[in-house]
Homo-oligomer: 264 residues x 2
């Protein structure tokens, strides 16, 4: 185990820089924090570049066992004092454990290999929404997420944290509308879109076992090009005065309808 | 219409201070921003202390009509230049319209007067979660929200924005566990709690028309004192690796099950 005591050490500076999208894109690495997420990263065998530990902050016995396991597995581990840990931490009340992981990206071919329930999102903007959709998709037995067009980064720290480990279990694919349309034409994988008001009641549709649930952006819903390639369009009927739901809430409502149907 | 040109004018300083909970608590006022929310505040006849408009930023014709209507109704309206508007704005790309509104609080008596579907939340911590639950509760035909124990502030700007107008349609009650337990004993209003793992499948319970859906905090779920006063406990069965859902996603899933049942 290395020890670094200066917050201006180049490795520590690099870790801090991973909050920025351009640094994540150029390095292919991202930042994860907290005992539970790092435990899940180890359990699911994510590729871990470094683990950062601060023993002054790490008071959970599960956290201490986790660090022993990480050191035993030969993962690069850096011990830092509280001041350095706080310079990289994004949490209030940090738990004293963080890590740098390698991003994992799949391509559309993964869908035909793995099959089952997938989610596709058009131009999702809010990393908190994306993270909690990863969490709900995992909980609903989903296999992965397809990010279409200009999307927020699933490896944004807010998305990673909100996913509660869904970022590790879900395959993540990024593609263009054109690429997705071509793939859909070639493979004819069932595609169910959501729209406001004019679709079939989402409770009255029989969802196939293998399918993609396609949802539009927070602001604009599905674009006409995406609506066109759907096999079916479903709607969540609403009462009240608001004219739409939060994207991750809407996704969760439909995903758990699908899960309930598939569970019989 | 008044004009204020200095960002250090006392009224402008006061409006900025409403981002802080203690200023909202001492004044009973809160800050709202954007054409859509202010339009909804006017439509639903909220008590509006001031409207702030910046004509350089207000380019929507709906927004301009809204300001004319506001001025005609005799609501105190302050015109400010872009620099002043940006000093109070919480949005990227502000639309040039904001307002200061009076907070509205109800008490537990409101439930027996209005009846129908209510939501109660124990120690909800995240204002984004609370706001999107207000939005989903509105969309599911809910009447209001009961905030139990130490809760985040529903009038926090993040909650107000995430509610998309649900903050205006939903009655908001704040009370202690003790007060709520006493009220439940005296009135016997049906109370359905959610818990992890051990409750009845949430799809197999027949929800009464008049009821409160009670949910625990993001971190801890329902406390034992709250579990005890529930008439029924329901659970959302999950697959996958995550061990819980985001609170507003879980609330939305159950609320829309209730709405679907009540809609026949």
């Amino acid at each position: 185990m290395k020890t670094i005591t200066s917050p201006s050490n180049p490795t520590i500076k690099f870790i801090r820089s991973l909050k920025q999208k351009k640094e994540r894109e150029s390095s292919g690495l991202y930042y994860v924090e907290g005992i539970r997420l790092i435990g899940e990263a180890v359990r699911t065998q994510q590729k871990i570049a470094h683990v950062i530990v601060c023993y002054e902050l790490l008071d959970s016995s599960f956290g201490k066992e986790l660090i022993s396991q990480i050191v035993e597995e030969g993962i690069d581990t850096i011990s830092v004092p509280e001041s350095v840990f706080e310079s990289i931490s994004l949490k209030e009340g940090p738990q004293g454990i963080a890590a740098v992981l390698e991003e994992t990206w799949a391509d559309l071919g993964a869908i035909m290999n793995i099959k089952g329930l997938w989610v596709a999102l058009e131009s999702v903007q809010d990393p908190g929404n994306l993270g909690s959709i990863l969490r709900s998709a995992d909980a609903a037995g989903g296999k992965g997420i397809v990010l279409l067009d200009e999307s927020t980064d699933p490896y944004h720290p807010t998305s990673v944290r909100a996913s509660m480990g869904g970022i590790f279990s879900q395959k993540i694919i990024k593609t263009s509308l054109e690429g997705f349309s071509q793939w859909k034409k070639a493979n004819n994988y069932p595609l169910v879109g959501t729209r406001c008001g004019e679709g079939l009641n989402y409770r009255r549709y029989n969802y196939p076992k293998d399918m993609i649930l396609l949802m539009g952006s927070e602001q604009k819903g599905l674009s006409s090009q995406h609506l066109e390639i759907c096999d079916e369009l479903v709607t969540i009927p609403m009462k009240g005065t608001v004219d739409s739901l939060n994207l991750s809430n809407a996704a969760s409502i439909v995903l758990f309808e699908i899960l309930a149907q598939h569970s019989g």
